[in-house]
């Protein structure tokens, strides 16, 4: 062989090409430097710091409300890790995943409540739930032997939706050998008074106990997933997700592994469902509808498909963000911060930023003068502005008495302006930007703050758009560089 290090640097070899990916990944600026410093830490520290923080939450004088969010987050993390095996690794678009969560919850409720008069010991009930949910997952995975991509998605979505319908309608099932119709699921009201978990004499009867239990389970699931990631099974799943045909030719039994992914993912979801049922002490069909499925997919895509820290962070964002935004003061802050950061990131120039914001402030005052000149009736600052931002916003934003009407007009104008701006050159966009920014804040304060539930959805949506636009590969996903 004549390949010495000497000639591998020569013309005609692929040194430059091979390093291309590295160069593209190595970002610049503060963000990248923080990232590098973080990745430089030992992995025990990297995982230990967030873990320590979550363990300390209940002892830092927090209330039940925060613990409930923590519990929801824990359940959501378990679900996300389970779904990651199926979608993130094996590339199987399973839109019926939530049905496994629901199945686990209902199965636990059936085994540990007055519904059938069964009160099985918790451990036994959980084992039965996990095994039956896994078997259900195996069955639902069977079509994946032939169906892939969109077709599998449609088939599993159908099953997922059917599950909810079945749970709602199975409150009066007529078995041929019985005289009376039987109530299996409690219909739309679900099953209530489900037993709490009780293991080895210890009853999980407080939010704190469930919170700690979920921390343990999430840590175990994370460690297991991390070990699987680089193992023969993890590699086999990721290979078949990349190219199922090539995987087969490389000794990988793709059918068996797809079914294994479905089965294992379903088992984890079943476990999460059982815990959910006992935390809630009840199950209701509406929990397991589409919004939950969409949120969980948003979480794993947001974090970066197939990346473990990504899945965890994505799930955390999708659970905590909507909760934070329940409070109008927070969403107000968040809106302004996102708007300002977004603008700075768009401008990418420290010279333009002050000019644009100065323009924006000026336009606000000019608008005030115009509104006053026309004689539009208005509210005083004290009448509408709340929170720490009140003095600033109160004197800058003109708050008309007719919030709904004028707000609606502003909203339409804003949508038109943004749509129109996307067609313009960067230069013209920057000239118009101060006006559009003011219009956005005006619309937000005048109209959208009136409807907290809408603002919450809008903000979450906007944040997702911004995040995905800046990092299309997800927060922790690796950017894909094709050599053309």
């Amino acid at each position: 062989m004549s390949t010495t290090p000497e000639d591998s640097r020569g013309i005609g070899t692929d040194e430059w090409v091979a390093q291309h990916g590295e160069r593209a990944q190595r970002g610049t600026g503060l963000y990248a430097r923080i990232g590098e410093a973080w990745m430089g830490l030992p992995s025990l520290v990297r995982w230990g710091i967030p873990l320590l923080l979550v363990v300390l939450v209940p002892f830092a004088g927090s209330n039940d409300y925060i613990l409930r969010i923590g519990i929801n987050l824990g359940l959501f993390l378990l679900l996300a890790l389970g779904l990651n095996l199926v979608v993130g690794y094996s590339g199987l678009l399973d839109l019926g995943f939530i049905a496994f969560y629901g199945f686990g919850a209902y199965a636990y409720a059936a085994l540990a409540s007055e519904q059938f008069g069964l009160h099985l010991p918790s451990l036994l009930a959980i084992v039965i739930v996990v095994v039956t949910t896994a078997a259900f997952g195996f069955t639902l995975g069977l079509p994946s032997r032939r169906l892939t991509g969109d077709y599998l998605a449609i088939a599993t979505l159908f099953f997922g939706q059917m599950f909810v319908v079945l749970m709602v309608s199975s409150d009066a099932v007529q078995f041929p050998w019985m005289d009376e119709p039987m109530d299996l699921t409690g219909g739309a009201n679900g099953i209530s008074n489900v037993d709490q978990l009780s293991v080895l004499g210890f009853t999980f009867d407080s939010n704190l106990s469930y919170y700690l239990l979920l921390i343990v389970l999430v840590v175990l699931a994370t460690v297991a997933t991390k070990r699987i990631h680089f193992s023969r099974h993890g590699l086999a799943w990721r290979s078949l997700g990349e190219d199922s045909l090539a995987a087969q030719h490389m000794t990988i039994p793709t059918v068996r592994l797809k079914l294994l992914a479905f089965t294992l993912g379903a088992g984890i979801a079943g476990l999460a469902g059982a815990i959910f049922a006992s935390v809630q002490q009840g199950v209701y069909p509406s929990t397991f509808e589409l919004p939950l499925l969409i949120t969980i997919y948003a979480a794993i895509i947001l974090g970066g498909l197939g990346s473990i820290p990504g899945v965890l962070l994505g799930a955390a964002i999708m659970t905590i963000l909507p909760e934070l935004l329940r409070f109008p003061e927070y969403s107000n802050w968040l809106f302004l911060v996102v708007l300002i950061l977004g603008t700075i990131m768009y401008l990418k120039s420290w010279k333009l930023v002050p000019a644009v914001f100065a323009g924006m402030i000026a336009i606000g005052f000019i608008a005030n003068v115009i509104f006053l000149a026309i004689g539009v009736p208005y509210l005083t600052t004290a009448e509408w502005a709340k929170g720490p931002l009140a003095p600033v916003l109160g004197s800058w934003i003109f708050m008309p008495e007719e919030r709904v009407l004028i707000g609606n007009i502003a909203f339409v104008a804003l949508v038109v302006a943004v749509a129109w701006m996307s067609l313009l050159t960067r230069r013209t966009t920057i000239i118009l930007l101060p006006f559009v920014l003011w219009l956005a804040i005006f619309t937000w304060e005048v109209r959208l703050m009136l409807e907290p539930s809408i603002t919450r959805q809008l903000l979450v949506g906007a944040l997702l758009v911004v995040l995905m636009a800046t990092r299309p590969q997800g927060i922790f996903g690796k950017p894909r560089v094709e050599v053309l």
Binding site: L245, T254, V483
Partner: protein
């Protein structure tokens, strides 16, 4: 270049044998009563114009298609209609004409993934890191370096942890060969391994194919359009046209065979030499 003496006389069981294989796609007969045998540690080249049925020939062996008629024997045992992953486990690995790597996996992961069939750690072993899982991990690591050592420094060092999509075209082809080796197969089917390579790289891959046989005694079937490669590596050459074997023998015999010349010239594309 290579010594052209197949060991078929000393070893009666061929590594690979096709008996009267016919494969039809609708009205089109891609392979027509094709019979041939490859001796252990022999390098057989398959040539033929586009659409002659060369890739179909690989697909029939590896179980992508079940032949309509005939039988495929691997060391005397039938592998007709056996699933691709089982064929691979029984010792036949291939590369693809259009390179089908696991794009988002690194070089190391691509090769390790192909060792699935020769490792046994269960999910339990993996999650609890039992001695078996650790031992296999170490063995895999050695096998990765071993497979890559065939390609000099080209795929080593920092490249081990680069995703396959970031590799140059020639390196992707090399990685595909390394991945096939990692399955533990004894028969390698290489579909146009030198396609898209420059003359220097072509020369290099020709040498590597020879060394695979000489140093590791692989049985190798190569589909190749580049006549330099065919001349360089082959113990024996067969030519296909319309799924029919039209010539068989040494490179010189086949390259000058009237039917072969006609098959190429008749379609307006002469054999490149």
């Amino acid at each position: 270049m290579m010594s052209g003496s197949p060991e078929s006389e000393s070893n009666p069981t061929p590594a690979l044998e096709l008996i009267d294989i016919t494969k039809r796609f609708g009205g089109l007969t891609s392979l027509d009563a094709l019979s041939l045998a490859v001796a252990p540690s022999e390098i057989l080249s398959v040539i033929g114009p586009n659409g002659a049925g060369k890739t179909t020939f690989f697909n029939v062996i590896t179980g992508v298609y079940t032949p309509d008629e005939g039988d495929v024997l691997l060391f005397g045992e039938s592998i007709r209609g056996v699933d691709p992953h089982k064929v691979a486990r029984r010792g036949v690995a291939r590369t693809f004409q259009n390179v089908r790597l696991f794009q988002n996996l690194t070089v190391r992961e691509n090769i390790t993934a192909a060792m699935y069939g020769r490792t046994n750690a269960s999910l339990f072993d993996i999650v609890f890191r039992t001695p078996r899982a650790r031992r296999e991990e170490r063995e895999n690591e050695e096998r990765v370096l071993d497979a890559l050592s065939f390609f000099g420094t080209r795929l080593q060092g920092y490249r081990l942890d680069q995703p396959a999509y970031s590799l140059s075209y020639a390196n992707r082809r090399r990685l595909e060969v390394a991945r096939a080796m990692a399955t533990g197969a004894s028969v390698l089917l290489l579909d146009e391994p030198a396609a898209g390579m420059n003359p220097k790289e072509t020369q290099e891959i020709t040498e590597i194919i020879g060394r695979l046989r000489d140093e590791r005694s692989y049985t190798i079937v190569v589909i190749e359009h580049d006549m330099h490669v065919v001349e360089g590596v082959s113990d024996r050459v067969i030519a296909l046209d319309h799924g029919v074997k039209i010539a068989e023998g040494s490179f010189e015999d086949v390259a000058t065979h009237p039917a072969v010349i006609e098959a190429y010239l008749g379609r307006g594309s002469a054999a490149r030499k």
